[in-house]
């Protein structure tokens, strides 16, 4: 319950944080909202010598409109993202996913960037970020680079962020006017999803013109369901129209087996939840 000893720095600028990271290297751990890191430290599953707290870097907080994208600062709390009108209007899929992420208290502390950098495949933000084609802005000693979502998630708890780098913001390409839904399957409310599906669709008339579908906890990283997306195009937004496309949701996935379900059950769930997510996103029911 009590973490091992560590030293602590709370820089006020990204540059200071990068300098601290450069100095302490792999003995340091970045503290964002801390909602996953602190349990790890308390249970002494890890004992970093240095904790670098980004909480005082105000430039990393906030949501802004930047032309074709909504930009979310890495240290913006989930509750802020969840109630942000820009996100709701232009990246509704993220709003939907945040709505039921963890619980209220954790949404007050946990941060958008922290959760994505943590890269738990059962985390609720990876699939929507992937589905919307988010761009991850990463700052390091050599400057700033932007990594597309497909390259950001590398493996279980592993991202493209280097040891000497910090995720500073996430750019969410605008999907204005798209319908969106995040369909989450849990046994009890405070669980990580057993499987969840993030779906956004653009309708023309009653027909699906474009679709974006991301899967949560169906592999070691969030998974983009390209086959589903392609098969949805041109289909009517009806249960029958969506069913065959959704049935392809588990293609190429590699879900885990654990207490809450075996891999084959998760594959099955993915297909059902995809159908429901797409239909709800399209404003239909099914």
């Amino acid at each position: 319950m009590i973490p091992a000893q560590f030293d602590y720095l709370a820089p006020t600028t990204v540059e200071e944080a990068l300098a601290a990271l450069a100095q302490h290297g792999d003995e340091a751990k970045i503290l964002a909202g801390g909602q996953s890191l602190l349990p790890v430290l308390r249970m002494r599953l890890n004992a970093p010598e240095m904790v670098i707290d980004l909480g005082k870097i105000t430039s990393l907080r906030g949501v802004r409109d930047d032309g074709d994208a909504i930009v979310v600062g890495a240290m913006t709390q989930h509750s802020v993202v969840g109630s942000d009108p820009l996100v709701a209007e232009h990246a509704a899929l993220v709003s939907k996913a945040v709505e039921h992420l963890a619980d209220v208290q954790i949404r007050h502390r946990g941060t958008f960037g922290g959760a994505l950098a943590h890269a738990d495949p059962a985390g609720d933000l990876g699939a929507p970020a992937l589905a919307l084609g988010a761009q991850f802005v990463i700052q390091g000693p050599g400057g700033t680079r932007t990594v597309p979502a497909e390259e950001f998630f590398v493996d279980l708890f592993e991202t493209a962020i280097g040891e000497d780098e910090i995720l500073t913001e996430v750019r969410l390409p605008k999907h204005t006017g798209w319908g969106a839904h995040y369909e989450k399957f849990v046994r009890v409310a405070h669980q990580w999803p057993i499987v969840a599906v993030a779906a956004a669709v653009r309708l023309e008339g009653g027909t699906i013109a474009e679709a974006r579908v991301g899967l949560t906890n169906m592999g070691n990283t969030p998974v983009r369901a390209h086959a589903v997306e392609q098969a949805l195009v041109g289909q009517p937004a009806t249960p029958d129209g969506v069913r065959d496309a959704a049935a392809r949701a588990a293609e190429g996935t590699n879900p885990p087996s654990d207490l809450n379900g075996d891999a084959d059950y998760r594959r099955h769930l993915a297909t059902v939840l995809t159908r429901r997510a797409v239909l709800t996103a399209a404003g239909a029911t099914g």
Binding site: R187, W192, I194, N254, P256, S257, L259, D262, R267
Partner: protein
């Protein structure tokens, strides 16, 4: 002191019993002015951290404490060897057979550990953080031994949990109605059913392992300064703890003071004498300083005792109409690594309840208790009776399906009719009162039973992806533990009486001392109501004291729905003695004959006159003692120790509607109605709270909770991430009502309520789940009924009875050290094929 005029009738205190009094306890609890054990800080206090075995079964080959001892602010690091002479031993109070195999249970293991989580060394330091730091530095070497983990395999002695005992079979306990003379021979009944074309149902049910998961982690503080050793502990049983400490450590009982301050829930989980308590006592004595130990939640889940964990093999014989002719029960019960305080007594408590509310002519019960290398098991809310109720209520639904009638119809054919009370059951208990017809009728009406059955038919006929199931549970239980004579016959090590004192203070206030120590039940309120009525004093003037062996020196504590029906009765008797003493004084003061006095509303009045005196005035007069009857002792204070002559038998009808999403297996509770008969109610508000909480614990067994071990004996569901307690968002509002047939075994006519909801709800939910999909060929789904099990049952058109895969998801960063046990490779090949 002069007698006063009688007050007008309107001023007489309102009857307290039956009122929805808000709880006296709440003011401190809602403002944070509480005294949990962990809040206690004493000068010079030292803190403990435990070093626990990661292995389920291993020989300890060496323990090196050198580095830990050099860690900052460490006072001592001790092993079992260091404490060998002083640590005492943990006892089993209920050896259920004379030849029971009972492994020695030392607080700190010396040579060998028998479950993952067993304590092998203890660090004492000036702060809890520093104690934990040093505990990481204790270097323990183990030789891992094969572990007995699976209950059925352990029962076959394939691997021994304790090699020196020669067998894992601890005790075999049998009740047979033929031999006891309470009924016929069950094998004959089964044979006859087979021969005559009757019905023989054979089923095997799994009672999964549960964790009580009280919200307050256990904590113990021991202060060795002063003449008495003072022990604060988050326990349900301060009196039993004091006795057991004295009996096993050599400390005279009179030198021990045990205090259970505010205790944050128990549910049986704090009905234990624990290694941690013994260790804290030993180290306080060793260091001469106050010592505190507070467990973490992770420690609590692996080391505090677990509950349930049985295999139930059941054979039920009936005629073609579904009249049951015999029931045979063969249980395997997992004790875990040690025989705990109640231990094998838990399934034995269930032995008398498998026949439930029914008139079975023949009954046989046998339990084999089995030692394994897992956390020990003991009482968890209901203790034996939920297991029994689940089995029989599931069976009655199966019988109804076999006969082809409504589940309520099959119950009615078999239950004891209200005019048949008192009724001696095939298990030998005398049920004093009850009315199953009335409770069932009321429950059906509230539930809208017929309408929901019609909706169920519609959904089935239309092939709705969401199917509706209706589950029935008509339960009874024996509660109010317990008549001491019965406990003696069952070889339990103590009695079942309870003690109370009522003290009239000089100011007219009343102190009530009870030996039943509460941990959330609301004793301070309910007991105040009883005494207020009995003595005719204001509710606010009654102070209930408990939980400190120097304040409440006699008692047997709180469990088994006993506080009201046993402890409350002791209060009634003590209060009545106060009134009797006061009456003598009243007669003296009023210059009347005691025979001419009436006592009502707190006043003694001379019959036929307006002369009277209030009991408070008498209390003041007795305090002054200026003018008492000749030879009278100047005290009204009275004690009573009540030993019940019988249990009491609450019952009820619970109806549950579950919706099952056949596409995913997801389960949604639509409605839950219960009508319980718990006799006369002291405080309806407290009773409803007990019912709601009990329901959710029982529902949680049906749907969510399970302690899962992996193949090496590690508890996989070892945190609240994986041991799934339901939240407010997972549960619904309940519809609760009561019918009343007063108990005849106590003055107030009350029956226990603490365990009722838990006992009844589990089978109601599972029956509803199975009922929703029975038309798909499904006859059983194993608990917890997870969406995956339901979905698989539908896929296979059979039973969803596979065991839970022993793996936890690694939700915390692997690079930070938490690897988890999830199999993230198993799906790879299948996935590639698609």
């Amino acid at each position: 002191m002069t007698a006063t005029e009688a007050r007008p009738e309107a001023e007489a205190p309102e009857r307290e019993i039956g009122r929805e009094r808000r709880r006296k306890e709440d003011q401190r609890l809602i403002t944070g002015r509480t005294r949990w054990t962990d809040n206690i800080q004493l000068p010079g206090m030292l803190h403990l951290a435990m070093v626990r075995s990661p292995f389920a079964h291993a020989r300890i080959t060496s323990i090196d404490t050198t580095e830990a001892k050099q860690s900052p602010n460490v006072v001592d690091v001790v092993t079992g060897q260091d404490l060998a002479e002083t640590q005492g031993v943990l006892i089993n109070a209920w050896p259920i057979t004379p030849d029971q195999k009972t492994p020695t249970h030392l607080p700190v293991a010396i040579d060998r550990v028998a479950f993952a989580g067993e304590i092998v060394a203890v660090v004492v330091a000036r702060s809890a953080a520093e104690a934990r730091d040093a505990a990481e530095l204790v270097d323990v070497e183990y030789d891992e031994l094969p572990a007995a983990l699976d209950l059925k395999e352990a029962a076959a002695d394939t691997v021994l949990a304790h090699p020196d005992l020669g067998s894992n079979k601890s005790a075999y306990w049998v009740f047979d109605s033929g031999e006891a003379g309470t009924g016929g021979n069950v094998d004959e009944a089964i044979a006859q059913a087979r021969e005559s074309g009757g019905i023989v149902l054979e089923r095997e049910y799994r009672q999964q392992r549960l964790i009580p998961a009280f919200m307050e982690p256990r904590s113990t503080v021991v202060d060795p300064t002063g003449e008495q050793l003072t022990v604060w502990s988050a326990t349900q049983i301060p009196h039993i703890l004091r006795f057991a400490l004295a009996a096993t450590t050599g400390i005279p009982e009179s030198k021990l003071r045990v205090i259970a301050p505010d205790v944050g829930g128990g549910f049986g989980g704090k009905l234990q004498t624990t290694p941690e308590e013994w260790i804290t006592v030993a180290l306080a004595r060793r260091t001469g300083k106050p010592v505190k130990y507070t467990e973490t939640r992770s420690e609590s889940l692996i080391a505090a005792h677990h509950g349930r964990d049985q295999w139930q093999k059941l054979t039920l014989a009936a005629d073609r109409e579904g009249n049951v002719t015999g029931l045979k029960v063969e249980l395997l019960a997992d004790l875990g690594a040690y025989v705990s305080l109640v231990g094998g007594g838990v399934p034995v408590l269930g032995a008398f309840m498998f026949n439930a509310i029914y008139k079975f002519p023949a009954y046989h019960f046998a339990v084999q208790t089995v030692l394994t290398n897992k956390t020990w098991t003991d009482a968890y809310r209901g203790a034996g009776r939920p297991e029994a109720t689940f089995a029989i209520e599931r069976l009655m639904d199966e019988l109804a399906a076999e006969v082809g009638v409504d589940p309520l119809e099959i119950r009615e054919r078999n239950w004891i009719k209200h005019e048949e009370f008192p009724f001696t059951t095939v298990a030998g208990l005398e049920y004093d009162s009850g009315n199953y017809e009335a409770a069932t009728e009321r429950a059906k009406e509230m539930f809208g039973y017929d309408e929901l059955r019609a909706e169920q038919r519609r959904r089935r006929e239309s092939g709705d992806p969401v199917q509706l199931g209706i589950g029935v549970s008509t339960f009874t239980e024996m509660c109010g533990l317990a008549p001491s004579r019965v406990l003696g016959q069952l070889d339990y090590g103590a009695g079942g009486w309870e003690h109370a004192s009522v003290r009239m203070l000089a100011t007219g206030k009343v102190e009530v001392v009870t030996g039943a120590s509460a941990h959330g039940q609301g004793h301070e309120t309910a007991f105040s109501q009883i005494v207020a009525d009995r003595l005719g004093v204001p509710f606010e003037d009654v102070e209930v004291l408990h939980g400190d062996t120097q304040v409440a020196p006699k008692g047997l504590d709180t469990y088994g729905s006993r506080s009201l029906v046993v402890g409350g009765e002791a209060l009634v008797k003590a209060s009545d003695k106060v009134v009797e003493k006061a009456k003598t004084v009243a007669a003296h003061l009023l210059e009347a004959s005691a025979d001419d006095l009436d006592f009502s509303g707190g006043r003694f009045t001379v019959r036929g006159t307006d002369q009277g005196v209030a009991i408070q005035e008498i209390a003041t007069a007795v305090f002054a003692a200026h003018n008492l009857p000749d030879g009278m002792e100047p005290s009204l204070d009275s004690d009573a120790t009540f030993d019940p002559v019988n249990f009491n038998y609450p019952h009820g009808t619970h109806l549950c509607a579950m919706e099952i999403d056949t596409e995913t297996g997801a389960l949604h509770m639509r409605k839950y109605v219960c009508v319980d008969d718990i006799g006369n109610v002291i405080n309806p508000l407290i009773v409803s709270g007990q019912v709601h909480g009990g329901l959710v614990q029982g529902i949680a067994q049906a749907l969510w909770e399970e302690a899962v071990y992996d193949e090496s004996g590690t508890l996989v569901s070892g945190s609240f991430v994986d041991y799934l307690l339901p939240t407010s968002a997972d549960t619904i509002s309940f519809e609760v009502d009561h019918t009343t047939t007063p108990s005849l075994t106590n003055t107030l006519g009350t029956k226990g309520v603490g365990e009722a909801g838990t006992i009844a709800s589990t089978p109601a939910v599972v029956n509803a789940v199975v009922d929703a999909v029975r038309h798909l060929g499904i006859t059983d789904i194993r608990m917890p009924c997870t969406p995956e099990r339901v979905w698989r049952a539908i896929q296979d058109a059979g039973s969803g009875t596979e065991a839970t895969t022993g793996a936890a998801a690694p939700h915390f960063d692997a690079s930070t050290g938490m690897e988890g046990t999830v199999d993230r490779t198993a799906g790879a090949q299948d996935g590639a094929q698609q």
